[in-house]
Amino acid sequence: MLAELGAVLLGLAVLAVAAGRLGLSPVPFYLLAGLLLGPGGPFELTEIEGFIEVGAEVGVVLLLLMLGLEYSPRDLARGLRTGWLSGIIDLVLNATPGVIAGYVLGFGSLGAAALGGVTYISSSGVIAKLISDLGFTGNRETGTVLTLLVVEDLVMAVYLPLLAAALLGASLGGAFGAVGLVAVVLVVLLRPRRREQRWVQRLFNRSDEAVLLGILGVALAVGALADRLGVSAAVAAFLIGLTLSGEPAERASRLLRPLRDLFAAAFFLFFGLQVDPGALGPVIWAAVALGLLTAATKVVTGWWAARADGVGVWGRRRAAAMLVSRGEFSVVIAELAITAGLDERIGTLSAAYVMALAVVGPLALRAVEVVRRRRTVASA
């Protein structure tokens, strides 16, 4: 078993290095690895599937916990104030194609709602990495893009619990649990901070390993409780992350990052494992069409939002290209849908969709840069 696990981890490491060389996110490569290692693929995993499955559950909790940690309540409030109009345009333009495609392909209302989430949400992981790799942190359009990502995060805080409740039980209790949890989180977020942060401070006044194990334990325990209530562990972890901010959030994300990278790899791999490569054929054209359409709608969103912020033509092009990337969040939504027993094609379609757009987005941004450099050299 150790041999197989070692081989898989080594393989993933090679993929991560290759992705880094190409300036791409490792996520699509992990998904591809899952496809190749799963049933029906050329190399079938035999011994460590159970381990990967447990790892994937931890991975999705960590992934969403860290996403929640990324922004402070102040960021969220400010994002909502300055970015609401762009946020609405973003939501309408990018969720609608997914929802319509869901109905057309016969996934039912819940499936359509899930697919709308998959096409709506840009990958903050991929985009943050692009911004820092290309040295774009100081660019004017970066503020625009990050504000849009903050608004998307907030939309997820409402959308995910409701979707999860609808998917996992649709019972009255589950729906109440979800709405209650959202309400609690919103109250915590909007309350002036400091006082309730005191117990957090006390919790964090410990050694690194105590904090690491403590926060992981809290996230998993609350996640399990939320699962009971029919809200999904991942969603609960996301909401926990949102409520932490400032120094504790910074420390938690620093400590959790390596763990997140390991278990998130397990999650993407596991998602790929569930997809039958033979089932890709029938949905591949739907995935390509949806990818092209929603790449175009993100381009419109980015262009419009950057122009509204007074950014010049090249900055608008960069913002447009950046937002095209879809990634971890889309996979999480698709995973929720197929775990709940919806049409398996949602998983297959989403895997193909994310693999395509997680590669196309970064490439598009680099292409914009190459063209701009060439133009400015030519004009100089």
Partner: protein
Amino acid sequence: MAPVDETELPGVGTRFSFETGDGRLLGVIRHHDGRREVFIADRDDPDCVAVSVSLEEGESHILADLLGGTEIAREVTAVAQGVAGLTVDWVEVPGLPAPATIGALQIRSRTGASVVAVLRGSEPYPAPGPDFSLAGGDVVLVVGTASGVREARNLLQGGGS
């Protein structure tokens, strides 16, 4: 002087930029983790960074010094940031009707904050006793809790009411 443009970068920090006299856009990003990034924008595309340098906390202090930043205020802030729950503030004393001693103002017993030093002109008076007499124009260094320091400021500037 050109106006400084300030933009919030959620999850990253705050971006400041301004246009210099010869038309270049110069900026600083204050990262949440304490790093500072200094950048110059591209000549043809002022929205895009052409060159940027990332500075650790100590390095940005060196740069600030070279640019003529003041040393003492920064060290005091560094001390304040190093200790959670401690606030440090410089309070300028307005013209007082009559010289008042620190003891007579009862700063410590009424606010819990302490006067650690007094700056008169460029002359420092570290650790003044209760019979140190304050005069208008003195700058007083007060240390205490956030609310204590605020009350001490009111006390010193409101003439003791």
